[in-house]
Structures are given as structure tokens and as C-alpha cells.
């Protein structure tokens, strides 16, 4: 088994004439936290969608843990061990928080609808375990006591947490976070950053982020990749990216460069 949990080879995704992802090569080391940055429309989310089966892969291949992801449906990708969150939170809004997490454990469940109707012991045992695990995850992300609220009635920050809890429920090897700190204030952003770091340190989950907040990106990433027009513009450690004149001028701009200098 290679040291890379994910290897992307010459990935291409087209929408009509537009090339959203353009012959992209990418390697994600196992157990790392890496980030993808780039201006709006650079193809970051398209890249995520290709990895998770939401978009079909036009050319090239994605190898996850020795499996090719080409041609897989989203649910199959999830069952292999990749979980994701969405840029605009997509919870099951009319289900309670606890139910959201229970649904998240889907890849590990075996009971059938007939078992549920008959109330077989196996089904009941699984049901109990699912609920227990969901409560544990709920506490884990700091939503203790909010399990019976409808997801849509949770405050924004809690919804983000719940979405991560739902993703964790599938016990992923790789977690794709699409702008996890969008819309958060600095204190919340700090909390989230620490949380992500500890997910990797203590649960050993490899994490790939799309993020706009440069403090977050530069603070926790081991490798930063800059996309532009679906191509890789630059790649390296946060230090290297910060000092890469091409990136600073073409993408970050002077204001951001100054901010980085201060931070």
C-alpha cells in the first residue's frame, strides 16, 4: 500500500466547452491535512464532486486506497471510506440532529426492512447501537442535549458541527471538508481549526479542505495546492505557497499578502 491515500491521475471534467478540472494530478499523503485554495470558479468544488462520485470522471482516474473511483456512485464512494461536507450546509433539515447522525452510519448497517417489520433481535441490537453511537458523536462535536431538535432549527454553527458529525458517523478514512469555516466568526473559526487538527491527530482521519480563510489554511495544512481554471497553479508547504510570487500576485493579491506577513 502506498503512502498516498488518494492519487489523482490526469483528471479531466468538462461541462460542454468549459473544462472545470483540467488534467489534474494530485497526491494526498495518508494521515495528512491538506488544503486546496483558489479563486471562485477555479474548480475546487468540481474536484471534490469528482472525488465523491457526484460528477462522472471524463478522463483520467482517481485511486483511493487501491480502489479506482471511476464510475462509482456517491453512495459507493462513501462506503469505501470517503465522507464529505458541503459548501452550503446540506443537512436533512426536517429530521432531528440525532437522526441525521444515525443516517450517517449507513455504510456500516446491515438490517433490512423485513427485519425491522419483524423486530428481529439483530435489528433491535443494531438499532440500539446506532442510537448510542449517534449520541456519542453528538457529544463529541459539542451538541450535547440538542439531539431532539430538528436540524433546521439549530443555529448555524451547530449545523456545521452536525454536518461534520454526520460525516464522521460513516467512520471515514478520508474526510473532505468544503469550506468548513465559511460564515464563522474568528473564535468559532479557531475552534473549528483545532477540532479538525485533532480529528487527524486522535482519530487518524486524513483531511482534505477547501478553504478561503487563509489563516485556517496556513495554520493547519501540511500541503497547500492552488487551483486556477481547473489547473494546478502551485503546490507546496504553506511557507512555500506564501512565498510563491506567482501565487501572491496572480491569486492572493497585495492585501492578502500583507495579512499573511502580519500573521
Amino acid at each position: 500500500m502506498s503512502d498516498n491515500i488518494l492519487e489523482v491521475q490526469q483528471l479531466v471534467k468538462r461541462f460542454g466547452g468549459l473544462v472545470a478540472v483540467d488534467h489534474l494530478d494530485y497526491e494526498l499523503p495518508r494521515g495528512s491535512i491538506c488544503s486546496i485554495i483558489g479563486p471562485n470558479g477555479a474548480g475546487k468544488t468540481s474536484f471534490f464532486n469528482c472525488l465523491t462520485g457526484f460528477y462522472s470522471i471524463d478522463e483520467g482516474d482517481v485511486i483511493f486506497d487501491t480502489y479506482s473511483l471511476k464510475g462509482l456512485e456517491p453512495f459507493q464512494v462513501t462506503r469505501l471510506g470517503i465522507a464529505r461536507t458541503f459548501q452550503n450546509i446540506r443537512l436533512f433539515s426536517n429530521m432531528t440532529a440525532i437522526e441525521n447522525i444515525m443516517v450517517g452510519q449507513e455504510p456500516h448497517l446491515h438490517s433490512s426492512w423485513i427485519g425491522a417489520v419483524l423486530g428481529t433481535p439483530g435489528t433491535r441490537r443494531e438499532e440500539r447501537m446506532v442510537e448510542e453511537e449517534a449520541r456519542r458523536l453528538l457529544r463529541f462535536v459539542g451538541l450535547r442535549g440538542k439531539g431532539d431538535m430538528l436540524a433546521k432549527n439549530l443555529p448555524y454553527g451547530d449545523q456545521r458541527r452536525l454536518e461534520i458529525a454526520r460525516a464522521l458517523a460513516s467512520k471515514p478514512k478520508l474526510l473532505l471538508l468544503d469550506e468548513p469555516t465559511a460564515g464563522m466568526n474568528p473564535a468559532e473559526t479557531l475552534q473549528t481549526t483545532q477540532f479538525i487538527q485533532r480529528l487527524r491527530d486522535e482519530l487518524g482521519i486524513t483531511i482534505l479542505l477547501i478553504e478561503h480563510d487563509m489563516k485556517v489554511v496556513m495554520g493547519i495544512s501540511e500541503k497547500v495546492t492552488v487551483l486556477d481554471y481547473g489547473k494546478k497553479l502551485a503546490e507546496g508547504t504553506p511557507q512555500e505557497i506564501q512565498n510563491n510570487p506567482q501565487v501572491i500576485e496572480a491569486y492572493l493579491g497585495k492585501g492578502a499578502a500583507q495579512l499573511l506577513a502580519e500573521g
Binding site: T52, G53, F54, E73, P74, F75, T78, R79, A83, R84, F86, R90, L91, F92, S93, N94, M95, T96, E99, M102, V103, G104, E106, P107, S111, W113, A116, V117, G119, T123, E126, E127, V130, E132, R135, R136, R139, F140, V141, G142, R144, G145, K146, G147, D148, M149, L150, N153, R161, R166, A167, A169, S170, A187, Q191, Q194, F195, R198, E202, L203
Partner: protein, 620 residues
């Protein structure tokens, strides 16, 4: 503050005209005249008069209430209510006046002299009549306004009492059917006369409801807290007692109700079975299925072909014995599930509106197939299938050596009464009439209910709900959308098949026209009216949409109109349904109150280090 002292003309005009248009419209389409034949309280109030007067009463009340809340002084509020009533009377008065000058009957066939007479309160002189009409509506507005001044705790019982009296007046035939089994003819005449309540009965009903309601308002809170203070076992016990009482009630229901009402209840029951099934697709899985009648038809036709003793049954065609009803049930269910499965395949990729249109098509296809010449040799085309036998079971009389006693049992069972009917069923096992068939429908409904509840609280139920909420996100947590969708259609179809089988056996003959689009629409509407996704809602919805119209059959001309009006009003006033599912209700009542989780215990959290529990909290 000036605004509060003067009339709020716009408000008055809006409410007044709203209340004026109801009688105008209902009069012009003939409703007032037809309804006038039905007295609610004998010699006091007809339903037609209610249509004319009631809107003014309501808006008078609303106007005064509105102004009181805005801080207007009482006199203004009361005067406003009167003015609203006056405005409300103008459209009808205008109708009468115009009709005097230019007979309107050429255009509006329903504006008959009889109608005008009703509107003029049977007065010969038009002016006196008009005066009465305007006066009555103004007065009604004023009375409604007065009601707004009664303190809350007396007003609520008053309204409840009035509503109950009117409802029992409307349903007096129903009351008569029940009472005539227990009460002597003379006593009955004291309560219900013709098709309306006597005034003393109305008075008594009002007084009783008023007192009960008053009691509940002052003491209801105590009762609730008494229940909540009970220890867990006590609560469980009292629930068990309540369930037993409910069970016994359901058991003897058809014999209390009599044959005609049992027929109505049977229909309601069939729709409950279908509603529970369709709810799986629509309420839980979010698949808007407008072709549910398909499953109903498949169940009914399979039953028809397999157990009919007529020329189309397998008995005559293949020379084998027709199957018996009990064997048919699983076959019909499986056949419907298979149909559901087949029809799910082409629509897998469709969502929302497109799915609705496609399923709508399926419903029509089935009806046309049933009508077609192509299938006529097998299922009879427009002539349908006849001679479908009723179910029966070996009764106690056959099972036990009771032959000697039989005559006395027969004699006993021929008398009327709750227990005798049950005994007869037990001894002979013949499900011949609506009262006996009720038990099959009850058993079917309980079975479907059981399955539905089990599924709702299972992995499958959560998969369906997740798919309803967000198909992409559901897919991203590992749910196989294709399988989940097909399963929802298949399971949902099962109870349609069950209802179809019972229906075929119950009516004895089936025709393609029994399987029209209206069945699908009815089932869907009762789910929506009851409250999407709510199981008790389906029962309430079926009672309201299937039961009530059966009882008010004489107004069948206006049934669809009332139906439509009801749906519109519901969507405006109570979009969550009559009996919303507990989650939705809880969220609507209070977002703040959360159920307490058990105190944190670190046992059972084996996989993760304890340090992770409060991971998200900032580190100091």
C-alpha cells in the same frame, strides 16, 4: 392614536365584504336553497340560514377582537362589528334588489323565487324582508362583536358549545342511527326529529359541552400535571387502561353504529389502509405518487379473478375451485407490490413534479386497461367482474360440537344489541354485512399500522426521510437512492393491494370506474389534511374527508366545492395538517424545550479516548 378612535374603514370593508361574498356566492350557486331544506336545530335554524348569517357573526367577532387587541375603546370596537355586519349584508341585499329590477334567473339559474324568499326571511313585503335581512346580518355582526368582550375562559366554552351543537345538528341522522338501537322510539323523538335536533336536545348538548369545556379550561392543567407527576409505571398503567378501553370500543363499534354507519366506517377504514400505504411514499420518502389507485385496482382485480364464482373467475375458466378470501390476501399484496416495483423502474430518475405527472399517467393506464377490449375476456371490460364471494371463517358452531345448542344461539343472535351481533359472527363466521366486514378492515388497518410504525422507526424509515430531505446528501452518506426509492414504491403499494382485495370482496362486483383518478386524489388529500407523515393524522384525515361527506351525502352536488374550499382553508390556516406528526408539532410549540439527555456517563464510549468528548470546546 387617532386611528384607534375612528373606524378602520379598510379593515371593516375587507372583513365585511369577505363575509358578504360567502352568502352571495353560495346563494347564486344554489347552495343556500338546498341547504335550507336541512334544519340544524328544529324550528330555529336551518343550514341555509347559517350560510347567510354565520359569516357575519364570525367577522363581527374577528373585527372586534382585532380592534380590542389594537387598543380601541369598547364602543368603537362594538360599533365596528355592527358596521362589518352591515357591510356583509349589502351584497345579498343588492342581489335581491337587482333581481327585483331585472330577473336574474336567465343568467343564474339558481336565483329562484324560493331562494329570494329564503333571503327575505319568508316575508311577503320585499321592503320588510330586506330590512330583516340587513338587520339580521348587522345584528349578527354585533353579537359576534359582543362575544369578543366575554373573558377568554368563558368565551372558549361558548364557542366550543356552539360548534358542537351545530356539528351534532348536522350529524343528527348519525346520532339517530346510533340512538335508535338503545332508546325507545318516543324518547328518540324527543332528541332528533326528522333530520334535525330538537331545541331541547340542542340546549342540553350545549349546556353539557359548555360545562365540560369550562371544567377543562379551569382544571385541565391540574389533570395534566397530575398525569405527569405519576411514576413511570403509573403512566404506563394508565396508558394501558386507555388502550384497552380504545380496543374494546373498536371491537364493539359496528354494533353501536348500526349497519349504515358501519358501511361508512368500512369505507373510512379502507381509505385509512391506503392512506397509511401512500404515506410511506409521499409523507416519508417524499415521492409524490398520484397513481396510487393502480395498486388498489391490481389488488381488487386479482381478487376478482381468483375468487369470483361467475364466468370470469378461475372456477369457470380453468375448472378449478375458486380460491378463498384468506389465501387471496397475500397474493393480492404481493401482486400490488410487484406492480409498485415495475412502475418504480421507469420513474427512478424523476423528481417532484415530473414524478407526479408520470404516476398520474400510470393511474390512468390501469383504468383504461381495465376498460379495454383487449383485456375484456379476462377482466370483463366495462361490465366488470361479478359474483365475488364474501369472506368467511369456520365459526364456533362448526368447530365445537354445539349443534344441540344452535337453535337457542340463533334465536339469541337474531336480537339486536352489541353482544349478539358479535356472538353471531363468532358462531357462524360469516362476514356477510358491513358490520362483520368491519373486523377484516380493522385487522387490515392494524396490520398496516403496525408495519408502518415499525418501518418508521427503523433504518429503512430514516433512509426514506433522508432521501425526501435531500437526495444528493442522502447519497453522500452512503444511501443507495435507487434501491431506497424502489423499496418505498414497493412497500407503499402493498397496502393498496390489501385495500383492493378487501374492497372487491366487500362490494362483490368491481367495475373500472371504481378505480378513477379520484381515488388517488382522495388518498393524497387525506394525508395532506391530516398532516404529512403523521399516522394519527391519516385517521383524522380519512374521517374528515371520507366519513363526513358520506354522512352529508344529500349535499353531494356541492361535495367537491366544499372539499376544495376545505383544502384551501387548511393550507392557509393549518398547513401542518389537523394532526401533525409529533416532531413537527413539538417544533411548532416550542423550540426551546429540549428533552434532557441522560447525564453524561463515560461508560460505553469505548472507541474514542475520553479526552475527545469535549473536543470542540476551546482549549484553555
Amino acid at each position: 392614536m387617532r386611528e384607534n378612535r375612528t373606524f378602520q374603514w379598510r379593515l371593516l370593508l375587507r372583513f365585511g365584504l369577505l363575509a358578504g361574498i360567502v352568502p352571495l356566492y353560495t346563494a347564486a350557486i344554489g347552495m343556500v336553497e338546498v341547504f335550507n331544506a336541512r334544519e340544524v336545530v328544529q324550528g330555529l335554524l336551518t343550514l341555509g340560514e347559517m350560510l347567510v348569517v354565520f359569516p357575519s357573526l364570525v367577522v363581527g367577532y374577528l373585527t372586534a377582537l382585532h380592534l380590542r387587541r389594537d387598543g380601541s375603546n369598547p364602543v368603537t370596537a362594538l360599533a365596528s362589528a355592527l358596521v362589518t355586519g352591515l357591510i356583509a349584508s349589502l351584497p345579498v341585499a343588492l342581489l335581491v334588489l337587482i333581481n327585483e329590477a331585472v330577473p336574474l334567473r336567465g343568467m343564474f339559474v339558481n336565483v329562484t323565487p324560493a331562494l329570494i324568499k329564503i333571503l327575505l326571511f319568508e316575508q311577503e313585503q320585499m321592503l320588510t324582508g330586506l330590512g330583516l335581512l340587513i338587520g339580521a346580518l348587522t345584528l349578527a355582526g354585533g353579537l359576534g362583536g359582543l362575544a369578543a368582550f366575554i373573558p377568554e375562559r368563558f368565551r372558549r366554552p361558548l364557542i366550543t358549545g356552539l360548534v358542537v351543537v351545530i356539528l351534532s345538528g348536522l350529524l343528527s341522522e348519525f346520532i339517530k342511527q346510533i340512538l335508535q338501537q338503545f332508546v325507545s322510539r318516543n324518547a328518540l323523538r324527543q332528541i332528533v326529529k326528522g333530520k334535525s335536533l330538537t331545541s331541547q336536545a340542542a340546549g342540553a348538548i350545549f349546556a353539557v359541552t359548555y360545562l365540560i369545556s369550562l371544567f377543562w379550561i379551569s382544571k385541565g392543567q391540574d389533570v395534566k400535571s397530575w398525569y405527569n407527576r405519576l411514576p413511570a409505571t403509573g403512566q404506563r398503567q394508565s396508558r394501558r387502561v386507555a388502550n384497552t378501553v380504545l380496543g374494546l370500543f373498536l371491537l364493539i363499534l359496528p354494533w353501536i353504529m348500526g349497519p349504515y354507519l358501519s358501511e361508512v366506517i368500512d369505507n373510512v377504514g379502507l381509505y385509512i389502509i391506503m392512506g397509511l400505504g401512500l404515506n410511506i411514499a409521499v409523507g416519508w420518502a417524499g415521492l409524490l405518487d398520484l397513481g396510487y389507485v393502480t395498486n388498489f385496482a391490481v389488488g381488487a382485480y386479482i381478487t376478482g379473478v381468483l375468487i369470483s364464482t361467475g364466468p370470469l373467475g378461475i372456477g369457470a375458466r380453468l375448472g378449478i375451485d375458486p380460491l378463498n378470501f384468506w389465501m387471496i390476501i397475500p397474493i393480492a399484496i404481493l401482486a400490488a407490490m410487484f406492480t409498485g416495483f415495475i412502475f418504480a423502474l421507469p420513474v427512478l430518475r424523476m423528481r417532484g413534479d415530473y414524478l407526479a405527472i408520470a404516476t398520474l399517467g400510470f393511474g390512468e393506464i390501469i383504468r383504461l386497461l381495465a376498460l379495454s377490449d383487449w383485456l375484456k375476456p379476462y377482466i370483463g371490460g366495462a361490465q366488470g367482474i361479478l359474483f365475488i364471494t364474501k369472506p368467511d371463517l369456520p365459526g364456533l358452531a362448526e368447530l365445537l360440537p354445539l349443534a344441540d345448542w344452535a337453535p337457542s344461539f340463533v334465536e339469541m343472535s337474531q336480537k339486536k344489541g352489541v353482544l349478539n351481533g358479535l356472538l353471531k359472527l363468532l358462531f357462524y363466521g360469516e362476514f356477510s354485512g358491513p358490520q362483520e366486514l368491519y373486523y377484516i378492515i380493522l385487522a387490515g388497518a392494524l396490520l398496516v399500522l403496525f408495519v408502518a410504525i415499525r418501518l418508521n422507526n427503523s433504518r429503512t424509515g430514516r433512509q426514506w426521510m433522508a432521501m425526501r430531505e435531500d437526495e444528493d446528501a442522502a447519497s453522500s452518506v452512503g444511501i443507495n437512492i435507487t434501491l431506497t426509492k424502489v423499496l418505498a414504491f414497493t412497500v407503499s403499494a402493498a397496502s393498496g393491494g390489501l385495500a383492493g382485495a378487501i374492497f372487491a370482496s366487500k362490494v362483490g362486483t368491481i367495475f373500472p370506474n371504481s378505480f378513477s383518478l379520484l381515488v388517488s386524489i382522495n388518498v393524497l388529500s387525506l394525508i395532506i389534511i391530516g398532516g404529512m407523515g403523521s399516522i394519527p393524522g391519516i385517521v383524522v384525515g380519512a374521517l374528515a374527508l371520507i366519513g363526513l361527506p358520506e354522512l352529508l351525502r344529500e349535499f353531494s352536488e356541492f361535495r367537491l366545492l366544499l372539499y376544495g374550499a376545505l383544502l384551501v382553508v387548511m393550507m392557509l390556516v393549518r398547513p401542518e395538517g389537523l394532526w401533525p406528526s409529533p416532531v413537527i408539532r413539538r417544533e411548532m410549540l416550542s423550540v426551546e424545550e429540549e428533552s434532557e439527555e441522560p447525564p453524561p456517563s463515560d461508560k460505553g464510549t469505548t472507541e474514542t479516548p475520553q479526552a475527545l468528548h469535549s473536543l470542540w470546546e476551546p482549549t484553555d
